[in-house]
């Protein structure tokens, strides 16, 4: 029988000091989860305002490249905070999360959302204001980004129900 290396990794995580601490502490998971929520507010708000700009909404008058550049620290930092807090929550019961279909879906969607959105935001941030033009591709990209991030959130909510 072939052993799934990902499952082996999850089983190992549960035996680490981190895994045991997260599992045994009554307040650690709650604190990390609250951190996840607070980061979600800032991260989500920044993502929303970046994508809205592609629709000529929100920060309408500023060049697209400037909005993308100014909000990059929030979206990148926020994304890192979401991933770290999410990872810590997972160490509370790695094998349980391994078998949770909503969690698997969320991780896949998160990877796709990160790759897609940050390609869009970083490429746009590097652009030059004088060469900017509102394009249908940017709007489609923003719409895809919003749908992807919303799906990540919904999958995250589903974790507790499946």
């Amino acid at each position: 029988m072939r052993t799934n290396s990902l499952l082996v990794f999850c089983r190992w995580l549960a035996t680490t000091h981190l895994g045991i601490a997260m599992r045994d502490s009554t307040w650690a998971f709650a604190i990390v989860e609250i951190g996840h929520l607070l980061a979600l507010a800032v991260f989500g708000g920044a993502i929303l305002l970046v994508d809205l700009r592609f629709f000529n909404l929100g920060f309408r008058t500023q060049p697209i490249s400037r909005v993308a550049r100014e909000l990059l620290p929030l979206t990148v930092g926020g994304g890192v905070a979401m991933f770290v807090s999410g990872f810590l929550m997972m160490t509370n019961g790695p094998v349980r999360y391994y078998y949770n279909p909503a969690f698997r879906l969320k991780l896949i969607l998160f990877a796709v959302a990160v790759a897609f959105h940050f390609t869009l935001q970083i490429l746009t941030a590097r652009g030059r204001p004088e060469r900017e033009h509102s394009s249908a591709w940017l709007r489609i990209g923003a719409a895809v980004s919003l749908v992807l991030w919303l799906s990540v959130g919904v999958a995250g909510r589903a974790i507790g129900y499946v």
Binding site: A30, E33, I34, L37, L38, L40, A41, V42, F43, G44, G45, A46, I47, L48, L49, L52, G58, F59, R60, T61, Q62, R66, E70, L71, P73, L74, L150, G153, V154, R157, Y161
Partner: protein, 166 residues
């Protein structure tokens, strides 16, 4: 029995409240919209507060950022108010005794007073500090208080489920 408790128990017993509370799908969906819409309400407020603190979008006048961001904040507020009210109706009787719920309501009132005071006082004279780095201490205080209050509201909201007494 206190009037408020009687009202909460009456609400809790209605078919409307019971339907939301006992439905397999309805409560989770309403709650999910509520949680995910935190980004629209608190997230946009956070970005505006960060502008007030001179952290980002420093080249843009504060009044411009306010005009561009706050309509979306209001849209988020409407969604949060509607979903929050529905959730509160569904859990009226149990929420009455929940300290996290009471604290959240108090913080929400304060979070409403803070921008009210801000917009009717120091923001009225925004032309004098719209651009540049010399943001008045009262504006920066309002931003810090706002970030603190909304963080508290989010924390209190999450604690409701932890402190629920059956």
């Amino acid at each position: 029995m206190p009037v408020a408790l009687e009202i909460c128990r009456w609400i809790y017993a209605t078919r409307f409240s019971t339907a939301i509370r006992e439905s397999v799908w309805l409560f989770p969906i309403i709650e999910s919209i509520h949680v995910l819409s935190i980004t629209v309400l608190a997230g946009t407020i956070a970005v505006f507060d960060l502008r007030l603190l001179g952290v980002l979008m420093k080249r843009d006048p504060v009044s411009t950022i306010a005009r561009q961001v706050l309509p979306w904040t209001w849209a988020g507020f409407v969604v949060m108010l509607v979903t929050g009210t529905l959730l509160s109706i569904a859990e009226a009787a149990t929420n009455y005794y929940n300290p996290a719920f009471r604290i959240k309501l108090i913080l929400l009132v304060l979070a409403g007073l803070n921008p009210l005071i801000f917009h009717t006082s120091i923001f009225r004279r925004v032309e004098s500090w719209d651009v540049g780095t010399a943001i008045p201490i009262r504006a920066r205080a309002a931003a810090v208080i706002s970030l603190g209050l909304w963080s508290g509201i989010i924390v209190a909201g999450r604690m409701i489920a932890y402190l629920e007494k059956p």
